[in-house]
Symmetry: D2
Subunit: 276 residues, 4 copies
Amino acid sequence: MPQFQIGSELTYDVRTSTIFLFQITAATTPHQQIVFENLLFDPCLTVETCQVGLEGNRLHRVVVEPCQLKIRYEATIELTPEVDRPTQVNEMIASQMPAEVLIYMNPSRYCESELLARFALEEFELIPPGFGRVQTICDWVYDHLEYTPGSTTPITTASDVLLQRTGVCRDYAHLAISLCRGLGIPARYVSGYAVNLQPPDFHGFMEAFLDGNWYLFDPTRLASTLGLVRIGTGRDAADVAFATLTGQAILLNKNVWANFSTDIPDLSLIAAVSIA
Amino acid sequence: MPQFQIGSELTYDVRTSTIFLFQITAATTPHQQIVFENLLFDPCLTVETCQVGLEGNRLHRVVVEPCQLKIRYEATIELTPEVDRPTQVNEMIASQMPAEVLIYMNPSRYCESELLARFALEEFELIPPGFGRVQTICDWVYDHLEYTPGSTTPITTASDVLLQRTGVCRDYAHLAISLCRGLGIPARYVSGYAVNLQPPDFHGFMEAFLDGNWYLFDPTRLASTLGLVRIGTGRDAADVAFATLTGQAILLNKNVWANFSTDIPDLSLIAAVSIA
Amino acid sequence: MPQFQIGSELTYDVRTSTIFLFQITAATTPHQQIVFENLLFDPCLTVETCQVGLEGNRLHRVVVEPCQLKIRYEATIELTPEVDRPTQVNEMIASQMPAEVLIYMNPSRYCESELLARFALEEFELIPPGFGRVQTICDWVYDHLEYTPGSTTPITTASDVLLQRTGVCRDYAHLAISLCRGLGIPARYVSGYAVNLQPPDFHGFMEAFLDGNWYLFDPTRLASTLGLVRIGTGRDAADVAFATLTGQAILLNKNVWANFSTDIPDLSLIAAVSIA
Amino acid sequence: MPQFQIGSELTYDVRTSTIFLFQITAATTPHQQIVFENLLFDPCLTVETCQVGLEGNRLHRVVVEPCQLKIRYEATIELTPEVDRPTQVNEMIASQMPAEVLIYMNPSRYCESELLARFALEEFELIPPGFGRVQTICDWVYDHLEYTPGSTTPITTASDVLLQRTGVCRDYAHLAISLCRGLGIPARYVSGYAVNLQPPDFHGFMEAFLDGNWYLFDPTRLASTLGLVRIGTGRDAADVAFATLTGQAILLNKNVWANFSTDIPDLSLIAAVSIA
């Protein structure tokens, strides 16, 4: 089984008493197991673990008095992804989708899918439905955007990105999600760790619901879908910020890493991958 | 106990095979019980009931071939609201809120709370926290908007409304929700039936999370918070559309009604009401 | 020489003392002459004629006390358009454009050309420059929008239209103007009368500056460029509203007409037409 | 007479053959005279001077082959401002305004005054008309925005600023202009040099048309209205960019300066100042 060594280290200058919600630890799913993990706060703090939202994202809540705060997370993760042939993964019609995925067809803060529905239909309606159509959407996003750090802000939405044609990983994911939803394909945002991401950072990618499974896509092509470890799942990036603060603190430093430790899979495989 | 007679009747001209998701039936909560209900489709159809989203909204899914479709819902609802003194209902700090409400501080499609946070702080930060502050926000919304049917569209957002200063019930609720979230108060959208609403229609209002409870507010002042029956709950109106269609159908007619049948409460009471 | 009979009649219910700026009379240019015109106000009013803006748009300013106001304009217009072969009309490079056209490359209220520049380049940069490239832009707009009265509002912009893919004549013109500017082609908005427009109304179209001339384009294809009579010219529709009011008045009725009276040109001609 | 020493120096790395439009030289008006000026290009270039737009902004157009380009402007300017008592400067009603100012009531790219009109009326309609009301608008802008370099981008508009409550000089001016127009007061954008501006840079401020004159306002309070030298005038910042490029060039360095050389006026004077 492929194992991954992942981790991150954040340092904050905390100026006033501040409530932090951290969302940096790996999720547990039928296909993603935590073999080992360690979450360390320096100084030592009372840490509360919260399960939040539909998918039970794991957040850590702490109240921190003025200090220099260091938080370090390390984990060994074992993935047992379901890997399918793309040509055998079909779309589902809305009358047969499980109820719990219906909400992922609704527009959300950064994925205004109802605004982009006509564009999505015009561009992709005639593409044969299935995994390949979502791949075509991701290819279109990759081909038409220029990956440009600093070109977008935390409030940039999918329609902004469709017009300006630049962005970073979250923007790529938001646009691909919106186009999927515009076609009636449930789609959602995933934050995570990505093996060999350059430069190293937290990553944002997406899942589309096809044939009863949530399949992974990374429209930036910065990582293999077999090298992605899930942190959290949401309607868009609004749900999976790595840190949410009430108070005042400055992020001084951020290090993120992700490596294979064993059993390196053949990343050249063109595959439909699900780890949900 | 106060009982309500509610109902609605929708008629569609269905042009092609169409999948409908209806969200028109009353919810069941510890404070809202369905004494009797009847949901009738004409022609007769196979109806699937779905529980959707965090709050388990009840949707009815049907596939309809071309025809004239009539759907009629009637119910008798008993409410046992928790009614508190406004002055005794406090805000909670983020470190003590239950995990399941945290998601209702995130921005959403029509409630761009992160855009309005500075405005919210500037206008309401110095108001004493608690039920009264949310009431002040709702009063501000009521005072600064003009209720104008037709002035907004399904894609109008809270920031649009803050600028243009007109809207209908959903716009009032979206703005009030956004301002609450901007202050760190969890807030969410509720669709429902409202007693004596003029003109009769489905209604949109909001809940804020205070002191461990979801309290009702209607910034339009078109209905008493003691005369509201919940259909569904969501981040904003995107989650609780009364009908979502995949296919082609024209709404020919819509009738909605809501009346007290017994035990009319004193609506003049200024009260903090919770039915969640 | 082709002559046109044009005119319009507007009726207002004036509620308070109101200042009107009307912009409904034909312009005079080297290629457009007024053979006869008559502007009638009922009741009789003191009318001030204003020349406004870079192109000397002709506005009529009146102060009206509460009454029912009727304004009627009739004119016979003679056009002597310059008609060129499309293939002989080239683009100009920015270093050779006359100074007075440079301002028509700036973004304006409803033509956010800087937002759409990357899209314009991606879609049209490889098209051979010249009249044909502007025609290609207009064809793209025609092909990708659906003419849908009521789908847009007075505040709809070109980027809104590019996303939602519906609009009316002003929206078509705004989008085509923005795409031209995005490629470095000066472009501007023209309001006017259009022969045989169905349904009859004021019309909005555009001009692009090519080879030393302003050439006409109507991306809606609702009128021949040889059947257009200019009222006013502006950066976008913000500059050429047919009526601007300070006060309170309700438009009760609007009739607009435009007919050829003599010398009907062959409208099937594919031609580059300039009347500026 | 007060004299000013102003100037700027720009250095570009020109990568491809590039057309530049520079707008950095002082304007000449009845109240602003150029005593001396020198505009130097290194390497030496053929420079074309263009008069652009309604107010005859002076632009310099050059075509530059790949090189390191330095452009240096120095001038001595004499101002003879009209200085009036604020209490004696009234607003004009729209029926009495000269035709040439009417266009400055239209919305423009970064000043969506029609969007903000209801807000403007709500907030400022009851303020007594005149210079004092425009001053109240500028005070409101100063009080409600936080001057934050980097918080806005070249596409930020007045309505963005009204929501997010941060910005730089151009954003302050755009918001004040929009609020004036929303009340029916013609208002326009001015780029210029400002004495003692910290940090030194080109500055953006505004003019409102009152009592037959264009009066200066600087809602940032970063400069005295008696220390402002006009470069160009426009509907908003879209019309007065200090450099517009067709091609590829990187700005390596920018120095801007402005000093009094003689006759320092009493800047503490609260005065209505016009230099148009």
